[in-house]
């Protein structure tokens, strides 16, 4: 299929946007000005201002002389790119491939998209009328190459749709400025009396290159389709996505749920056919008034079960804000997919392990509420240091590579940070006779130890610990340790680290 590109030219991008925000300005002469070398230069202006003879690059002082009732606003550099980005996102409803074309345009790859709106003519008409309702004055064009579409949109008086392989003829009557050339090159062409593309299009490339530079030849060839030119899309197209356009704007919660379910069914059916499941999915809505938003959900296991995925989205559906205008388009993108695991091996066990599908779905729901970072799973870590013995595991399907050690007793409850206690030991390296924790005195009647655990010096510096299991008169069992060696002069550093069952 031959490529078709559309170029949309926003004739008064900045001033139109101002009028949208301040409807009172409509039909008035006003300009945007930015400081440059100590003067205020006009950067954008309305059609009404142009009628007075005001042009871009004129100083504000000069313009005020010609047009006494001219209103001047401060322009912000980079504002147009911001506006264009928003408009490009809006244009994603027409095609997934949209590129910004600063300072005042957008480029769309519309190959295979136009028939959805009933042909190229209807496609362009819809773009123009929709943008006009918003308040933008645009001129779009469709052609075989990006260069031609750009030129036709900006310079042609009629014939905004260039039929297939007619782009050379369409370029002929256009002025050289239709070719995206620099000001220097344009001046040179004008001085030589070349006012139309047709006057130099048949000149040999070597002649053009010598006089106007490599750049000009490249632009000409791109417009003619002799050199390839590619779009750099605003968003990477997602291989698995579904879209749902609504005939009427949607405002109610049940309707949004139906839309989501509809999209999920379509996507899951497709994924199921290819043996894939979702790991990360994004549900995006586009409102009639140009605003949009999205919800993202992730799963522990790749899943293509509609009910499960719907539940995950359901918890977050409150954030969908249809506003007063309503939603006109929903899209669902599968940002990450993985092959679904086969369930054959699990059929024999009654309940399965922790990687059971139902458990994975439960964890997804829980993660949606409290965050996936709060669900922990541990594997035996090959460390003696108590804090590092359980190793945090991120992939729940992983099975331990080594055994959990059972040769040393470990407390049921471990404090995150050991709490300092006052302890009294009769002889060095013997368990303490009594200790005071939180103002309460515990007399120790039985104790085991010491079990020396060395600090892992390759990981962190510090003293070793001598651990004791101590049982007090009430039968409560504690895990105490002395940090470092016994030292008669210094105060002993005793800590409580855990409670035994």
């Amino acid at each position: 299929m031959p490529k078709r590109f559309a170029s949309i030219w926003f004739r008064h991008l900045l001033t139109d946007q101002k009028a949208i925000r301040q409807p009172g300005l409509k039909g008035k002469a006003y300009v945007f000005a930015e400081p440059d070398h100590g003067r205020m230069l006009i950067t954008a202006l309305t059609e009404e201002a142009r009628k007075y003879g005001v042009t871009e690059g004129m100083t504000v002082a000069d313009a005020r002389v010609i047009a006494p009732d001219l209103q001047v606003f401060d322009g912000k550099p980079g504002r147009n790119v911001k506006l264009l980005t928003g408009l490009a996102e809006w244009c994603l409803r027409y095609t997934p491939l949209v590129q910004l074309d600063p300072p005042d345009g957008l480029l769309l790859d519309v190959t295979g998209c136009t028939h959805l709106k009933g042909g190229e003519k209807a496609f362009l008409q819809e773009i123009v009328s929709r943008l006009k309702t918003i308040g933008y004055d645009v001129r779009p064009a469709i052609a075989d190459t990006i260069g031609t579409a750009w030129g036709v949109a900006r310079c042609a008086s009629s014939g905004l749709i260039v039929a297939e392989s007619e782009h050379r003829n369409a370029l002929m009557p256009l002025p050289p400025s239709a070719l995206r050339l620099s000001l220097n090159q344009l001046l040179k062409l004008r001085n030589l009396g070349l006012h139309q593309v047709s006057t130099f299009i048949y000149m040999p490339n070597s002649v053009l290159r010598r006089r106007f530079g490599k750049d000009m030849v490249l632009r000409l060839q791109q417009a003619l389709g002799q050199e390839p030119e590619y779009l750099f899309p605003l968003k990477e197209p997602v291989p698995y996505n579904e879209r749902l356009e609504c005939l009427e704007a949607i405002k109610t919660r049940p309707a949004i749920e139906i839309a989501l379910n509809n999209l999920l069914e379509k996507l899951c059916k497709r994924l199921h056919g290819e043996g894939l499941g979702l790991r990360l999915a994004m549900f995006t809505w586009y409102r009639v008034d140009g605003k949009n938003g999205n919800i993202t959900v992730g799963t522990n296991h790749s899943s293509n079960r509609v009910q499960h995925l719907f539940k995950l989205f359901f918890n977050k559906l409150d954030t969908v804000a249809p506003g007063l205008a309503g939603i006109e388009l929903f899209t669902l993108d599968a940002l990450k997919t993985e092959p679904v695991s086969d369930k054959q091996s699990e059929i024999w066990s009654a309940k399965g392990g922790i990687d059971h599908e139902e458990v994975a779905e439960l964890l997804d729901r829980v993660a949606g509420r409290i965050g996936a970072a709060n669900i922990h799973h541990y594997l035996p870590g090959e460390h003696y240091w108590p804090e590092r013995t359980p190793k945090l595991n991120t992939d729940i399907k992983k099975t331990p590579e080594s055994e959990w050690r059972t040769d040393k007793p470990r407390p049921m409850q471990l404090l995150d940070t050991p709490e300092p206690i006052e302890a009294m030991a009769l002889t060095p390296d013997y368990p303490p006779k009594l200790f005071i924790w939180k103002g309460e005195q515990h007399v120790i009647v039985g104790a085991d130890g010491p079990e020396r655990i060395e600090r892992e010096w390759w990981l962190e510096p510090g003293e070793h610990r001598d651990y004791y299991i101590a049982e007090d008169e009430a039968g409560q069992r504690y895990w105490l340790f002395r940090s470092g060696h016994y030292n008669a002069e210094n105060n002993q550093h005793w800590y409580l680290h855990g409670f035994f069952a």
């Binding site: 066990s349 009654a350 309940k351 399965g352 392990g353 922790i354 059971h356 599908e357 139902e358 458990v359 779905e361 439960l362 964890l363 729901r365 829980v366 509420r369 409290i370 965050g371 709060n374 669900i375 922990h376 799973h377 541990y378 594997l379 035996p380 108590p386 013995t389 359980p390 595991n393 729940i396 099975t399 331990p400 959990w404 050690r405 059972t406 007793p409 470990r410 407390p411 049921m412 409850q413 471990l414 404090l415 995150d416 009647v445 039985g446 104790a447 085991d448 299991i469 101590a470 049982e471 008169e473 009430a474 039968g475 409560q476 069992r477 504690y478 855990g498 409670f499 035994f500 069952a501």
Partner: protein, 241 residues
């Protein structure tokens, strides 16, 4: 032959137990949790799985004891497969210690809920899930309505739930099937031996529906519960040991 009055009454009793949410143990599952004489306190002499059990603790030491006791029960519940969820607000449980009570720590998923009010929401979701074998929930407060919700959830899914209530000032009425209080006790060693013996607890069954509450001394030894019945018998074991 006409059924005797005794038969009818016992039949009705069985029915009542079933209506109250108890289910007869599924064939092929292992319902003996190795509690020994303690099990006699339960209706039919079987530990009620697929129900909510409440544990009360007032101190971190008692919480550790409860943890050990629950882990001992969970060990048997997990032998048929299924996952175990440990849901808590401020978790102190030390995973490697579970191995000493026969539970593989890598089969337990720890859900550390950042907000207290989400604990019961997560617990209810987990109890509804049939792929889960058992759920342990550490929480502070549990109102009657909340406990009813949890009980209703397990009646459908037949998951066994343990609610470990910490720092309970006043034990309110709940819809849980049992209420336990586990306190650590002095461990016993052979006479003349220094050190600390096997974990030993004063297990109090404060409340059990259709059963007989009681109090026992239970020791965890050789990967199973050992009930120390009377001091007299303890003397005898001492001789053989």
């Amino acid at each position: 032959m006409q059924p005797t009055k005794q038969d009818i009454i016992s039949k009705l009793r069985q029915d009542m137990i079933r209506w109250e949410g108890f289910r007869p143990p599924q064939p092929g599952t292992n319902n003996d949790l190795g509690l020994g004489p303690v099990a006699a306190a339960f209706p039919d002499g079987v530990f009620p799985t697929g129900a909510i059990h409440e544990f009360i603790s007032n101190s971190p030491e008692a919480t550790a004891a409860c943890g050990g006791f629950i882990a001992g029960l969970v060990q048997k519940l997990l032998s048929d497969g299924g996952a175990c969820l440990w849901i808590s607000y401020t978790r102190r449980i030390y995973p490697p210690a579970l191995k000493l009570f026969g539970v593989d720590p890598d089969r337990v998923i720890f859900v550390d809920v950042p907000m207290q009010k989400d604990v019961l929401w997560v617990t209810e979701e987990a109890l509804k899930c049939e792929g889960v074998a058992t759920v342990i929930c550490e929480t502070k407060d549990l109102s009657f309505t909340e406990s009813q919700r949890l009980q209703l959830a397990v009646e459908k899914s037949h998951v066994t739930g343990f609610i470990l209530r910490k720092d309970v000032k006043k034990a309110n009425t709940t819809a849980c099937v049992t209420r336990w209080q586990i306190r650590p006790m002095r461990s016993q060693l052979r006479t003349g031996m220094p050190g600390v013996g096997h974990p030993r607890w004063q297990v109090e069954l404060l409340k059990v529906r259709n059963g007989r509450p009681g109090s026992w001394i239970v020791e965890w030894k050789k990967q199973s519960f050992q009930t120390i019945v009377t001091p007299q018998i303890k003397e005898q074991t001492r001789q053989y040991a």
